[in-house]
């Protein structure tokens, strides 16, 4: 049997015959139960479309005001990046950097990489950095925390509701849409398929010359 007919569970190191689940089906490791593959319908096309939408939505959610508060006649509005600046001005540089990375930079890099990779695969174009992009995207995925930030917004609003009047701006709606898009993006991106297609593209290029 050739080596490509085998698979190894990444969490318990069991050698298996590669399962080839149909679209919509799931393959689990028989020993530890890990989800090994879950092919999605039209994964490349959907990833491409979702990452374009996410990339566009990123800018209104970053720049437009999300929440406005009125306390005793004073008004202030919160923007996604302003929390980072406020922490920086308070002398909490380390926390400011962590918030910047987890809520702004890593999600943006992730969406951009998904856009680059799925774009190349969609148009059947090879690029010698495709594997590097793929590795970066997989490793950064855990560190973008938009959904946790959303929960942070909710808790902050609940804390403020007793002493302030709240109103919500377009930035917040854009942020919620961005959150939905990135969630769909991660669930539609089929890593196994992407790696296979990258390898095909590389081999095809070598055969062509």
């Amino acid at each position: 049997m050739p080596i490509t007919d085998y698979d190894i569970c990444p969490e318990c190191d069991l050698l298996l015959k590669a399962a080839l689940p149909k679209i919509g089906e799931k393959a689990h490791c028989p020993r530890c139960g890990l989800l090994l593959s879950h092919p999605r319908k039209r994964s490349i096309e959907r990833t491409f479309a979702l990452s374009i939408a996410g990339f566009i939505l990123f800018f209104p959610s970053l720049l437009l005001p999300m929440v406005g508060v009125t306390i005793m006649g004073n008004v202030s509005t919160g923007v996604l990046y302003a929390g980072v600046i406020a922490l920086f001005n308070d002398g909490m540089e380390a926390v400011a950097i962590v918030v910047f990375l987890a809520s702004i930079l890593f999600p943006l890099v992730n969406i951009s990489l998904a856009l680059l990779i799925s774009g190349h695969l969609y148009f059947n174009r090879y690029h010698r950095y495709l594997t590097v992009w793929m590795r970066w995207m997989q490793n950064l995925n855990e560190w973008g925390m938009l959904e946790v930030y959303m929960l942070g917004i909710i808790v902050a609003c609940v804390k403020l509701v007793a002493l302030a009047q709240l109103n919500f701006g377009w930035g917040l709606y854009a942020f919620v849409a961005l959150l939905i898009i990135t969630t769909l993006l991660t669930s539609n991106l089929d890593n196994v398929l992407f790696w296979q297609r990258i390898e095909q593209l590389r081999k095809g290029r070598h055969h062509a010359g």
Binding site: I3, T4, Y6, D7, I8, P10, E11, C12, D13, L14, L15, R31, C32, G33, L34, V67, V69, I71, M72, N74, S76, G78, V79, A82, G83, I85, A86, L87, D90, M92, A94, V95, A96, V98, V99, A102, S103, T131, M134, R135, Q138, N139, M145, V148, Y149, L151, G152, I153, I154, V155, A156, V158, K159, L160, A162, L163, A164, V192, W195, E199
Partner: protein, 200 residues
């Protein structure tokens, strides 16, 4: 029987299989370094975990945020913030913050310690159950950043002459605890739990 003993290595990044006897140092498909197990998994995870244990103490003792109202500052610790939510009848949100900021970090610290001990002393355990516990620990870790994000939003929104919220020193320690425990979970290799089992 482990794939490693049967002569196969799986690439950590792209999942391609290689045969050990070819003695490849890099993955033929994606060119990342090949390791049968994460390098220095237990040493790194232990070092990261000990650092997070140490930082966990200041994270809970010192105030995470300070509410300045008309010249008087009221420091808030993590636990204090939760008590305040309960006092103002915000029970569901209070429970949420309790889970994210206290239960998750502390059970992560304990769970990771037990996992490292199991792997280090080659205890005969139910590897399947502990792999699932590991998976849960790795999954919930990020949610502890909730408090940090909430503080960054409050610091920005509440900044008036009469009332101000500023971040306290425990915020730095707490953010460090969350990141260090996430890194510890990432460096811990659950396959070590299975390597030690004699009757597989």
């Amino acid at each position: 029987m482990q794939a490693k003993e049967q002569g196969f290595i799986r690439c950590h990044d792209c999942g391609a299989l290689s045969e050990t006897h070819h003695k490849l140092s890099h993955c033929p498909r994606c060119d990342s370094l090949l390791h049968a197990r994460h390098p220095h998994s237990l040493q790194r995870a232990t070092a990261l975990l000990i650092s997070s244990f140490l930082l966990y103490i200041p994270a809970n003792i010192f105030p995470v945020m300070i509410v300045n109202q008309f010249g008087t500052g009221e420091p808030n610790t993590i636990a204090g913030g939760i008590v305040e939510l309960f006092d103002s009848d915000m029970i569901p949100i209070g429970l949420l913050v309790l889970v994210a900021s206290i239960l998750v970090p502390s059970s992560k610290l304990i769970g990771m310690s037990v996992l490292i001990l199991c792997a280090h002393f080659r205890w005969q355990i139910n590897a399947c159950r502990w792999t699932k516990i590991y998976r849960a620990i790795a999954f919930v870790g990020r949610w502890s950043m909730l408090d940090i994000f909430m503080i960054s939003i409050l610091v920005d929104l509440v900044n008036f002459s009469g009332i101000q919220i500023i971040a306290g020193s425990a915020a730095t320690a707490f953010a460090a605890v969350v990141i260090l425990t996430m890194l510890a979970a990432e460096n811990f290799d659950p396959r070590l739990l299975w390597d030690n089992q004699q009757n597989l």
